[in-house]
Symmetry: C2
Subunit: 334 residues, 2 copies
């Protein structure tokens, strides 16, 4: 397990080059004055010995790791991958390295991840995890590690956030539907333990319906394409119609495919839409009506905000992203 053993150290380079380690350090960091001659000598021995500075020791000495912690529930969702990609893009551009923490949608693991974020000495963190409260985030921020929280409104001295606004678009959609189309009763697909975003949408869904006095329903649903597909094959045997609001594209596609394979028409008999739309909404057929947030852009923005926050330069600590409704062929148009 001694992976760092027989590692070439700065001291060995110094000895081999016949200089002191301070000089080698200067050469590495291009700081301070070094004769062209000795610099070349040092550089050549560095190359010869294959010396690579230890990021660990550097970090310990400088109080900077150039590491950014990224906390996400899982890497396996397309919209999260999109965000991750935005983060990596900017991180690479800025010479930052990413340390990944996944939490599996569990609050316990989320808290555990935050502990490790602190221990791991990252220079900052981007947290996209529904399970965390404002106070959890506060606790971590109190360790003086700058944090950008995605999909949650949290404020604090060393905290910025990127909240998504789904509520408005969803409310508008529901009201518009009942006013102009009203072909079906709306059903919200509840997924247990799937984060605050979905929970908030569900709340909005219910509240809006009660406000306008329309009937609605909520049914439980698995967060899996196959299981949802099978469940809805059964469902449609008894009730061959409806308007379903699903969490993700996969789930919406499961409903849509189940409908079609049951001999139903989409959108005439069955309407479906997804809340967290990705490019797959436009790939499946019929194409899915969905709400979209540009997660790639969110990732980039989060990274840029974090860098500014680390430099004490972030002025606007809240950056909204509005969900946009894209109407496609899985729902009826007016």
């Amino acid at each position: 397990m001694n992976n760092l053993k027989d590692r070439v150290t700065i001291y060995q380079v110094a000895q081999a080059a016949g200089v002191s380690l301070a000089t080698v350090s200067r050469v590495i960091n291009k700081k301070g004055n070094v004769t062209e001659e000795t610099r070349e000598r040092v550089e050549s021995t560095i190359a010869r010995l294959g010396y690579k500075p230890s990021g660990l020791a550097q970090a310990l000495a400088t109080n900077k790791t150039t590491n950014i912690g990224v906390v996400i529930p899982s890497a396996n969702y397309v919209y999260i991958s999109n965000m991750l990609n935005g983060i990596t893009d900017v991180a690479k551009e800025k010479g930052l390295t990413l340390t990944l923490f996944t939490t599996s949608h569990s609050r316990e693991e989320a808290l555990n991840a935050m502990e490790r974020v602190i221990s791991s000495h990252v220079d900052g963190a981007i947290v996209f995890d529904d399970e965390l409260d404002a106070e959890d985030v506060d606790k971590i921020a109190s360790y003086n590690v700058p944090i950008i929280v995605v999909n949650n409104r949290v404020t604090g001295d060393r905290v910025g956030c990127i909240p998504f606004s789904y509520t408005e678009a969803l409310t508008e959609l529901i009201k518009g539907y009942h006013k102009n189309i009203a072909a079906h009763q709306m059903t919200f697909l509840h997924v247990h333990n799937c984060g605050r975003l979905l929970a908030k949408c569900e709340k909005t869904f219910i509240k809006t319906h009660e406000e306008i006095g329309k009937a609605y329903s909520v049914i439980n649903c698995d967060d899996s394409y196959t299981r949802t597909y099978n469940d809805f094959r059964e469902y449609f045997k008894k009730k061959p119609e409806g308007f379903f609001i699903a969490y993700r594209d996969s789930i919406a596609a499961a409903v849509e495919n189940a409908a079609i394979d049951s001999g139903l028409r989409v959108p005439e008999d069955v309407e479906v839409m997804s809340l967290v739309g990705t490019k797959y909404a436009a790939i499946v057929r019929p194409t899915l009506t969905s709400m979209h947030v540009d997660m790639l852009e969110v990732g980039k923005r989060a990274m840029y905000m974090l860098i500014e926050l680390m430099n004490y330069e972030l002025v606007d600590k809240v950056s909204h992203f509005d969900a946009e409704l894209v109407t496609r062929n899985s729902t009826l148009h007016k």
Copy 2:
């Protein structure tokens, strides 16, 4: 930028608890003998001060980081996310942290990433990057960091690998098609700079066709759904048929959707299949014939192999994963 400043150190805990830092260290690591009484005192002050050990200093002192480097071209492909998820699952279980390096399919960035892997002091690395040669991997392994290479056959003292075997299944598929179906000429969709896996498949495609003396074609294609869709809308105006082999599900879906939107029938007029199948192959309609490697399992296996390699316990350094052909509705059956 002094993120680590005013961090509570082991020394402060020791002082506050009225013991030496060695005792605190013992309490943290549950090593050595400590009186129940002093342990409780130390633990309570740790909690009171909110002390978290510095992973950095620990790593420097112990020569172990409990960090695993993961090198991938991008986080944005479903099959890579799947693998990443397998890796995170096992890593979490084993208390390991992941450091992410993305290379954007560029050899230069891949080499750069490997440099950083070394500097970052990871205990081991999983490399899934087509751009790297065996000698590149060797160079890194010479730094005594254990590596598992995915999708490439590389050997070495501190190197294990998980090669995918696409060749056999692909060869068999091509031969079988020309023997039993032969409805269309086969066309391989070449994507520039998309890694060795695709290049290898293309080579196999060409070689097999020449062996059996059948006509074939290769055309250039973008690694983007939208562009491929548009290109094929044009293509089908001139040549409304064919059997197309695409890299990923998205690309295959683009061809299939373009065909259908052009009024063609899939699979009667246009057949499509994808080489790197994901769950989306079964979600899009018509469902896509595709080759599959269980990337979640690959990720898990890679992680398990790496752990064994780190412990000098890995006996079988090569672990094959066979690509499996799943026939669905986008191609003709015999």
